[in-house]
């Protein structure tokens, strides 16, 4: 979860932060080994 936390939240304090596309967030979960229906962000 630590590498995922850094990816997911590492830029949250950037003045120019903008929400990441769902596909990018899903890729982060995949890289963390969080795969399968439970971890699917979209229906």
């Amino acid at each position: 979860m630590w590498p995922l936390s850094m990816e997911w939240y590492g830029d949250r304090l950037d003045p120019d932060y903008s929400a990441k596309p769902v596909g990018e967030l899903q890729a982060m979960l995949n890289r963390a080994g969080l795969v399968g229906d439970f971890w699917r962000l979209e229906p």
């Binding site: 979860m1 630590w2 590492g10 949250r12 304090l13 979209e42």
Partner: protein, 143 residues
């Protein structure tokens, strides 16, 4: 103040002060009470922040405005996290080393977790997610 600037100011306040800005601060930033309330609602609807039932800031993920029993401590500073994941997310967002103050749900024992030199120390244990990812925002406070 544009919504992006307001978002940043809210997050910066959580980071620097350990909690949300006061309503007076929000009013000053937005140029009035109604403008502040409207801007907060827009940020809430965009899932940028989370408001409580009274319209006050409850979350600016990963920061919590209320004591949740999950804290992150670094030196003299501390922040409340919304959940176990957010106890890791706060040091990540702030790019700091920190100690995590929480208890294991199954034993009630204090966790012995910390970020030291940018690495998670004592990484044993796991975080339990009850709600499927696609439903996290159905009720993010419950999540």
């Amino acid at each position: 103040m544009h919504d992006a600037e307001l978002r940043y100011s809210i997050y910066r306040t959580f980071a620097d002060a350990g909690g949300p800005p006061t309503f007076a601060q929000l009013v000053a930033w937005c140029g009035g009470s109604e403008a502040a309330q409207a801007a907060l609602r827009r940020l809430h609807d965009a899932h940028t922040i989370v408001l409580d039932a009274d319209g006050a800031i409850r979350m600016a993920l990963p920061f919590s405005a209320v004591d949740t029993g999950h804290s992150v401590v670094s030196g003299d500073e501390s922040w409340w996290a919304n959940c176990a994941w957010d106890t890791l997310a706060i040091p990540a967002a702030l790019d700091i080393d920190a100690a995590i103050e929480a208890t294991w749900l199954d034993t009630g024992e204090p966790v012995d977790l910390a970020i030291v030199d940018g690495e998670l120390r004592h990484a044993d244990g796991f975080i339990h997610f009850e709600i499927p990812a696609r439903r996290w925002w159905d009720d993010i406070v419950e999540t």
